[in-house]
């Protein structure tokens, strides 16, 4: 009976397990007599077996450390130990890991801080804003003088004289109309700077410098 190489390999494997029936044995033998390749295969499988057993025996033919029967029959402690040990090991590794992560994070934070130290030192210096300074200055330097209206005076001429706006005079003196009577007293606010309140920081210096000039000009008409 003819069999393929595949079938022959199968039969060789079964013969290694001693599960070959007598009839199959004959068929295999007949194939092996003709087929050198399958004879080689059988030889190699036998070689595997021949090396396998001594290799395993060399590594595993050890004697166990004699077990104590009390440990087996008595307490259940020994069976608990390995699992406990695993838990402690894992816990220790976990703690170490957490500590490492925390310390590296700390390190990163402190490193980041030292690289940009400037802003912290600069910020606390108090710098007054341009707006508040300008209004303060203008109110500080304002004074009111009383002016008696002369015969030919108009509101416009008075305003021009004191370098004050006409509207402002009207507001300060509660005037409803522009007409003013002679010999009445007018309150004239004289300021070094106009308290507009919207002075930009860039224009701040210009309002500072002519500090004495307006007072001088204001005093001239009155004097």
């Amino acid at each position: 009976m003819q069999i393929t190489h595949e079938e022959a390999h199968q039969l060789i494997q079964f013969s290694m397990d001693q599960t070959l029936r007598p009839q199959e044995k004959n068929t295999l033998q007949a194939h092996l007599d003709d087929c050198m390749e399958c004879r080689y295969f059988a030889k190699e499988i036998q070689e595997v077996e021949a090396h396998l057993v001594p290799a395993m025996q060399k590594h595993w033919n050890l004697q166990p450390a004699p077990l104590s029967v009390e440990a087996i029959t008595g307490k259940r402690k020994p069976s608990l130990q390995p699992s406990l040990r695993l838990v402690t090991r894992t816990a220790i590794i976990g703690i170490v890991f957490a500590a490492f992560v925390f310390s590296s994070w700390q390190f990163a934070v402190s490193k980041g801080r030292s690289s940009t130290p400037m802003p912290v030192g600069v910020l606390p210096i108090p710098t007054p804003s341009g707006q508040s300074t300008s209004t303060k200055i203008s109110f500080e330097n304002c004074e009111e003088i009383i002016y008696q209206v002369q015969e030919n005076d108009t509101l416009e001429s008075i305003a021009a004289q004191f370098s004050v706006s006409k509207d402002k005079l009207m507001v300060v003196n509660n005037l409803a109309a522009e007409a003013i009577n002679p010999n009445t007293d007018l309150l004239i606010p004289i300021c070094n700077s106009t308290p507009t309140g919207t002075v930009h920081p860039s224009t701040l210096t210009t309002t500072f410098t002519p500090l004495t000039d307006p007072t001088a000009s204001a005093s001239t008409p009155s004097g």
Binding site: Q13, Q57, H59, P64, A65, L67, V69, P78, I93
Partner: protein, 184 residues
Amino acid sequence: MHSTASLISECIAGNEAAIEMFVRQYETGVFRLALSIVSDPAEANEITQETFIAALRSLSSYEEKKSLKAWLYTIALNHSRSHLRKRKTIERLKNTLNSIFRVETQKQVLPEESVIQNDKEAEIWRALNQLDEPFRIVIVLRYFHELPISEISEILSVNEGTIHSRLHTARARLRNALNHLHGE
């Protein structure tokens, strides 16, 4: 000499002499089975002890359909596998930690490796350790423990046909490893 049945019943009753006899009779086999799976004598001892503790606790549920040895080996196998699993978890954890700390650990060379003079034997041994677990265990039980196919089938709870096919595949792979050696 006790019969297996009377030995079992005396072990269940708590007769220490019987238990000692039971342990002495099978401890080497159980130990070697564990050793062949975990490859560490200390761990194999631990597994052996665990196996006997578990076996004595559940001895009353032992059915005589299965041979006592096959039954014990099944327990030992389960314990060995759970040890392997734990070890893999620990190793994975270690590897993660090592990669974080960038610790270069030297690759351990097992002392036994150098003892083997024979190239073919070393190659077979290496190939055996690279086999997937189902194939490896079948080879171990068949050749190292010299168990018949029927008992291997009992221990692994796998039918005999599957055991045969696993043996065939395993042997073919080991043969390829040897051929690879010839080819070099």
